[in-house]
């Protein structure tokens, strides 16, 4: 068996909001094609870690690598381009543009990346169809149920065929059955395409869908499961 390729790596990542530390020296590696759950109690820094890995935030200290590239030293513009082409994001809610139809919402990332209107629409319709919600193409978000909106948002997150999908409580606003269905689809499509998925959640039932779990506690990785003994920021295990 060949060693899995590391696609994302964080080393000694520290990030604070004002004087409040959110991450206090986080190390992690994510293999290509892996589905990794990042869990932990509220305020443990899991969303901040996700934003740092996705290049939305830059760390105060430490390094973030995407493949061979050191992401945290890139300009906002370069990171933004990377996010449009290689990354997909799916958050809890409030992501769809209310004035646009389902198909227009899904096509949006392609249009922003410069794809022609007709090609973008075809890809959007295919994406909705793959998630079993072709009927949402001409509906506006206000006419959709929560589960339908989230499927639409998932189709949009995947329409650029990203290498990495970053998700933060993707089913947090849904009832448990609708949440399960969205997660089931997310994992099925990720596996089919070899998409790497980072799944931030506080819910172990959601984390159950991942290959591996990384628990954060007080801004540190709870690697050995004890985790409450603080270690110096930037120290490696």
């Amino acid at each position: 068996m060949t060693e899995p390729t590391t696609l994302l790596r964080a080393h000694g990542v520290v990030r604070s909001y004002g004087r409040t530390p959110a991450l206090r020296g986080v190390d992690l590696t994510v293999a290509q094609g892996e589905i990794l759950a990042i869990t932990g109690p509220s305020g443990c820094g899991k969303s901040t870690l996700l934003h740092c890995l996705a290049g939305i935030l830059t760390p105060d200290e430490g390094e973030i690598y995407y493949g061979a590239h050191r992401l945290d030293t890139w300009s906002e513009r370069a990171r933004s381009r990377l996010r449009r082409t290689e990354f997909g994001v799916l958050f809890q809610f409030g992501q769809l543009v209310p004035e646009l139809t389902g198909a227009e919402n899904v096509a949006l990332p392609l249009l922003l990346a410069g794809t022609g209107r007709r090609v973008a629409r075809t890809a959007a319709l295919e994406g909705l169809d793959r998630l079993g919600v072709a009927e949402l193409a001409d509906q506006r978000p206000g006419e959709m149920s929560g589960g339908q909106q989230q499927r639409c948002a998932l189709a949009r997150a995947l329409v650029t065929e990203p290498r990495v999908l970053f998700t933060d409580e993707p089913t947090g606003a849904l009832d448990s059955l609708a949440g399960e269905q969205v997660l089931g689809e997310l994992v099925r499509l990720a596996r089919e395409r070899g998409t790497t998925v980072l799944l931030v959640t506080h819910d172990v039932r959601v984390a159950g869908y991942a290959d591996r779990e990384l628990e954060l506690r007080d801004g540190l990785v709870d690697g050995d499961g004890l985790g409450l003994a603080p270690r110096a920021p930037g120290a490696t295990r």
């Binding site: 039932r205 984390a207 159950g208 779990e213 709870d222 050995d224 499961g225 409450l228």
Partner: protein, 183 residues
Amino acid sequence: MNSVAVSTAHLLLGLLAAGARYGYELKRSHDERLPRAKPLAYGQVYATLGRLERDGLVEQAGQDREGGPDRTSYALTGAGRDELDRWLASTEPPAPHVNSELLAKVTVALLVAGAERARATLAAQRRAHIARVRELTKVKNDPVATLDDVIAADYAIAHLDADLRWLETTLERVADWHREVHS
């Protein structure tokens, strides 16, 4: 009858509600419908049917001795159907006593070995629980999973989730708990 026997008896009554069945058919359909439950032993099926017959809840419905040992099929009696109705209409009492090996183990760890050991016990248990949730989630999402598999796995996951919430909260409480126990 103890609670396990009660539950098996009522399950068998339920499986007989659709019509007379042989013991081996009851076992097979129990194991199929409740794929995550402990499979029924044949001995248990026949012993339970014997008790149900004695209590007038089932009756022998026919014999088949084609090419093998005698086989008896059983059917619900009127009293059996009434008992099944009564059981289905009753709710299970929420368990009044906390009777968990896990709680006992963590308590002992805290008493004899201190907060770190209690925390390590909790954390190790948490990892084991999460690994099990992951396994069950795979079972559920297997393309060949039946709805029986999914529903049984949901049940197990929801209970593991409850344990996990307790483990999490207790992890947060260990320091206070240790102070109180040792004050």
